[in-house]
């Protein structure tokens, strides 16, 4: 122990003595360790840390899916009756609760305040093991369709909107579009967030009474569900048990439940599934940066060790074993890396703030990201490991000293041999290879991003502004009055200065909404239950296609003559036509929705396809119905103009003028929505690019230092060459050639590694394949250029060596 303390004391003294070496090594490692700490903080908070519920390990998600048509991984939502049957029949779930995110209004002082919340099954708080701060949990009775309306408020809403009124339980608050009263039955503990990936959550309302016809409709798949496993039950056992129930439902309800299965997943895993590949990529990338940093420091240590042969030989001569010398050198490395780790942790606290600021809101649990004890322990452990990684090779190399040669200085006569130089070259070559892998990853993400940004979604988002609102049911109680109000707003919007056209649509493309409807083509054989085709249906007003610049390829747009009482009409898209009418004109044919329960719609037009779900998802079948015949309360008024940003305020003013009481849900430019959909990709790209840039800089420093060191070591050789008649230009080329040889080896290894490594990125790429030759060529060219630039100064130094001084160097 005392000898270890002695080693540590000596190490600190040695680092103090070599100020510049210490500064460069600590700075390099601190940046790399800081980046690792920051990324680990994010990974820990999002992927590793349990959900903030005591039952976290037992909370699962349950998603029904039609196994004939949908892959398990795409399972998302279920129908209420199916979930209720599962809740009652499951032997493995202790509790089950459906839920649906919801936006509504609360009227604390008469004026509507928009709030976010969730409609939840009565067992939700049992699943989460949450005891209300005041009041009671929901009961099964609250979930009945005719149950008295009740509500649970968040602690924050209670404090902000109701001033923490201790007597609020049992009181009524006005709620929703209609402003109808609801009885407050619970105030929930501070900080409760479920669903978790929401910004703020103000209320929870029992879901049963909100379902209407969907209370019994097995074809209406729109509910998320969560459950609590019984103790000792695994996720796989729960899924197997759920599918026993699903098999019963398939038999009992073939019309709706053919192919029904349930996907049961750990809630935490499911929640983070979308970001897991990106975070794993970042974890690998940041570790690669650390390895590059280690390589740089290892090279510095090797260079330093070359000057310590005599010291090490003396230690050996007075009885130190090779193991003891290696330990001494490793202690120096670990002291160095621990110092860097401490600075890195400090850097990480700022880095984490930067990461959170850069991250899109779609990444769950971002608010829980911070540098805590666990993260600091990780940094300390990683620092120790780092010290051993970069210190081991130099320590072994330095301890392998020929005593007689060193002590007698009998190595004169020829310049330094190849062995140690080879190790340094190998390290720098490896550094270049790792940098190339990282740069290729960043390059592929960049190309994907550029391709995605350039992808035409089928409509023009750049000239469009949007205003979303949902007419209050108290003022607009039926479809006729809702549509009449919406038409007035559209009419006013179309007369705004600069507006070329205006229209309405219930769901905006790319906004993340899903709307899946099964349909049949009249006169053609009906598909088997559960196997029918599906489409997205949008309710639109006339001029929608003109406003979004979606070409109408054939037929006509909707007009004012398409009314509630006229023939039910439909505009289909080219994707539908190609699939179902490849050699026929579909206009005049009829489409039936919902298993012949509704009146058919006649096709009157064909629109160009659009990407509705996301820019990176190929167009799916989209149908358009007139808002007059399929009135949606919720509507986006869209306007087309040269300056959509300038339309946002006038749009709000229209609403204020026509109905000052009507809340506006959202006003924005469509382009901002489109750009927002790239948020996750941009975040990943930004971080990967930053890490790749860091890797490039570290590699450049590595190449520079190895070449500068090489010039220093080779000064006698350079002197000899000059004495023998070599010109400066030949010496310059000699050094550059050395750099090119190392770089070429690194690039070759890097290209092979990149081709293999980038295969794991397949799901993150768009429009570009892993190992894309253009990206590889570009990245290799950049690295080669950087290597030559980094070698330039050492090469110039070499070319200026005074042969006389060089020959006497030794």
């Amino acid at each position: 122990m005392s000898s270890l303390l002695f080693d540590i004391r000596f190490a600190i003294r040695a680092l103090k003595r070599n100020t510049w070496f210490t500064i460069v090594a600590v700075a390099t490692l601190a940046i790399a360790l800081g980046a690792n700490t920051a990324i680990f903080s994010v990974v820990d908070a999002i992927l590793l840390r349990p959900l903030p519920f005591s039952t976290s390990a037992r909370i699962v998600t349950i998603a029904g899916y039609n196994s004939v048509r949908v892959a398990r991984k795409d399972a998302e939502v279920s129908a209420w009756p199916d979930l209720e049957d599962l809740r009652k029949q499951s032997k493995t779930l202790e509790h089950l609760a459906a839920y649906s995110e919801s936006a509504s209004y609360i009227y604390p002082s008469g004026e509507p305040v928009p709030v976010s919340g969730a409609a939840v099954g009565s067992e939700m708080f049992d699943v989460l093991a949450i005891k209300p701060e005041l009041g009671r949990r929901f009961t099964a009775r609250d979930d009945l369709p005719d149950a008295p309306p009740v509500i649970a408020l968040s602690h924050e809403t209670w404090m902000h909107l109701y001033a923490g009124d201790q007597a609020i339980i049992g009181k009524t608050v006005r709620f929703g579009n209609s402003g109808k009263p609801r009885t407050v039955v619970a105030i929930l503990p501070p900080g409760l967030r479920f669903p978790i990936n929401t910004d703020t959550i103000s209320f929870w309302a029992p879901i049963g009474p909100t379902l209407g016809d969907n209370f019994t409709e097995r074809g209406a798949h729109f509910l998320f569900a969560t459950g609590l496993l019984r103790r000792g039950v695994t996720v796989a056992q729960a899924e197997s048990d759920a599918n026993v129930v699903a098999a019963r439902l398939q038999k009992a309800y073939p019309d709706n439940d053919t192919g029904l299965k349930f996907a049961v997943d750990s809630c935490q895993e499911r929640l983070t599934r979308g970001v897991r590949p990106a975070l794993m990529l970042l974890t690998v990338a940041v570790f690669v940066v650390l390895l590059i940093g280690c390589a740089n420091v290892a090279n510095l240590l090797l260079a330093r060790a070359a000057g310590r042969h005599r010291e090490i030989a003396v230690r050996s001569a007075i009885g130190a074993t090779r193991g003891r010398i290696i330990r001494q050198l490793l202690v120096e490395s670990v002291v160095l890396s621990l110092l860097a780790g401490a600075i890195g942790a400090l850097l990480a606290t700022w880095g984490v703030d930067l990461l959170v600021a850069l991250a899109p809101p779609t990444i769950p649990r971002l608010d829980t990201v911070h540098v805590d004890g666990k993260v600091l322990f990780f940094t300390a452990a990683l620092s120790m490991l780092t010290g051993i990684i970069f210190g081991l090779a130099p320590a072994i190399s330095a301890s392998n000293t020929n005593l007689t040669e060193c002590l007698n200085d009998a190595s004169r006569g020829s310049t330094e041999g190849r062995k140690r130089g080879r190790l340094r070259n190998l390290i720098v070559g490896g550094e270049i290879a790792l940098s190339l892998v990282l740069l290729t990853g960043a390059g592929l993400l960049l190309r994907s991003f550029v391709q995605l940004f350039a992808t035409n979604p089928g409509f023009d988002s750049r000239s469009v502004a949007s205003l979303a609102f949902s007419p209050r049911t108290s003022t607009y109680p039926d479809d006729t009055r809702v549509y009449a109000f919406q038409k007035r707003v559209i009419e006013e919007a179309s007369h705004l200065p600069g507006v070329k056209s205006a229209a309405g649509v219930d769901l905006l493309p790319l906004a993340g909404d899903q709307n899946i409807n099964t349909f049949n083509i009249a006169g053609r054989p009906e598909a088997l239950p559960g196997q029918g085709p599906t489409a997205t249906i949008l309710s639109i007003t006339p001029h929608f296609f003109e406003t979004l610049s979606i070409p109408l390829l054939q037929g006509r747009d909707f007009t004012a003559n398409d009314t509630e009482n006229s023939e039910r009409v439909l505009i289909v898209d080219q994707t539908f036509v190609k699939r179902y009418f490849p050699h026929e004109n579909p206009i005049g044919h009829q489409i039936v929705f919902g298993g012949n329960k509704t009146k058919p719609r006649t096709i009157v037009g064909i629109a160009s396809p659009i990407r509705f779900v996301s820019v990176d998802v190929e167009p799916t079948i989209t149908f358009y119905a007139p808002q007059s015949q399929r009135t949606s309360n919720y509507i986006h008024i869209v306007t087309r103009s040269d300056n959509p940003a300038a339309q946002l305020r006038p749009l709000r003013e229209i609403m204020r003028r026509l109905d000052p009481q009507q809340p506006v849900i959202d006003v924005r430019t469509f382009e901002s929505l489109r750009v927002e959909t790239f948020g996750s990709r941009r975040f990943l790209l930004t971080l990967t690019a930053l890490l790749a840039l860091l890797a490039l800089v570290l590699a450049a420093i590595g190449i520079y230092s190895i070449m500068a060191y090489s010039v220093a070591v080779r000064t006698p050789e350079i002197g000899i060459r000059m004495a023998l008649g070599a010109e400066s230009s030949e010496i310059f080329r000699l050094i550059i050639r050395h750099s090119v040889q190392i770089t070429a080896g690194g690039l070759l290894a890097g290209v092979i590694a990149a081709v293999i490594a980038t295969r794991t990125m397949r799901t993150l790429l768009y429009g570009v394949v892993p190992g894309d030759p253009i990206t590889l060529a570009a990245v290799s060219a950049v690295l080669a250029a950087v290597a030559i630039v980094a070698s330039y100064i050492p090469a110039r130094m070499a070319a200026k060596v005074d042969p006389l001084v060089a020959i006497r160097y030794d």
Partner: protein, 246 residues
């Protein structure tokens, strides 16, 4: 002393002053020296007398502070670095005390190195390298690295490297300084043999045992030539002593 009446090397009033901080050190003062083709000149003197400085100036590794240096009919003291490098390559063969072989190159490659700077064709380089190796008796070691050779062998390789360029003059700086006496004698014998074959040699040494090989001895003291002696019988004396050339 001269061939065609013109010395190979002519130094007139050569001075070398080193400036360090406020101190001015006169390493060489008003040195006049002529070396004819085929001569074997030794430069001797105590440590710090300016021997190595003189040799560096002769070898165009250093420039004089004043005076004129004519090599093979060309004034060289004011030439630029490129021309100096070219003259070093073509006219001068160096033999250093510490051999100065390049550890990363084989024996063959070390000897070939100056020829590559001259951009000689590969065939010509091969002929010269093998010829030089044969002359120093190291042909069988051409693929070895310097570290695999003894000190004496390394110095023979260094001599071969100096010879391969077929220089006008061989400059040897304490060529036996790092060798034991047996190897030292062998290298000196090799130089003598080269001299007998017509080589011009200028050797710096402070070891009186080896100055006897030279036909002319120059003694330096405090940067000045204080004595020049000729020994026309040097070779005969060596032969009589039974010296065997390596």
């Amino acid at each position: 002393m001269t061939n065609n009446g013109e010395p190979l090397i002519r130094l007139e009033g050569i001075r070398k002053i080193f400036y360090t901080d406020e101190l001015e050190t006169h390493a060489l003062s008003n040195v006049h020296l002529e070396i004819g083709r085929g001569e074997y000149v030794s430069i001797a003197g105590p440590s710090g007398c300016g021997k190595s400085t003189l040799l560096s100036i002769l070898g165009l590794l250093d420039t004089p502070s004043g005076g004129t240096y004519t090599l093979n009919g060309t004034e060289v003291q004011k030439l630029g670095p490129v021309e100096r490098a070219q003259i070093r390559n073509r006219e001068i063969g160096f033999i250093f005390q510490s051999f100065n072989l390049i550890g990363d190159l084989t024996v063959y490659e070390n000897i070939e190195l100056p020829l590559t700077y001259r951009r000689l064709p590969a065939g010509e380089r091969k002929r010269r390298v093998n010829g030089a190796l044969e002359r120093v008796g190291m042909l069988n070691r051409s693929r070895h690295y310097p570290a695999q050779l003894s000190g004496g062998q390394q110095q023979r390789v260094a001599v071969a490297r100096a010879l391969a360029g077929e220089p006008a003059i061989l400059l040897a700086d304490e060529p036996t300084g790092n060798l034991d006496s047996k190897n030292g004698e062998a290298v000196m014998g090799l130089l003598l043999d080269l001299h007998r074959a017509g080589a011009t040699i200028c050797m710096v040494t402070h070891d009186p045992r080896f100055t006897r090989y030279a036909g002319r001895k120059v003694h330096l003291f405090d940067g000045r030539i204080i004595e020049e002696t000729r020994d026309h019988m040097a070779e005969e004396k060596l032969s009589a002593s039974g010296f065997a050339v390596a």
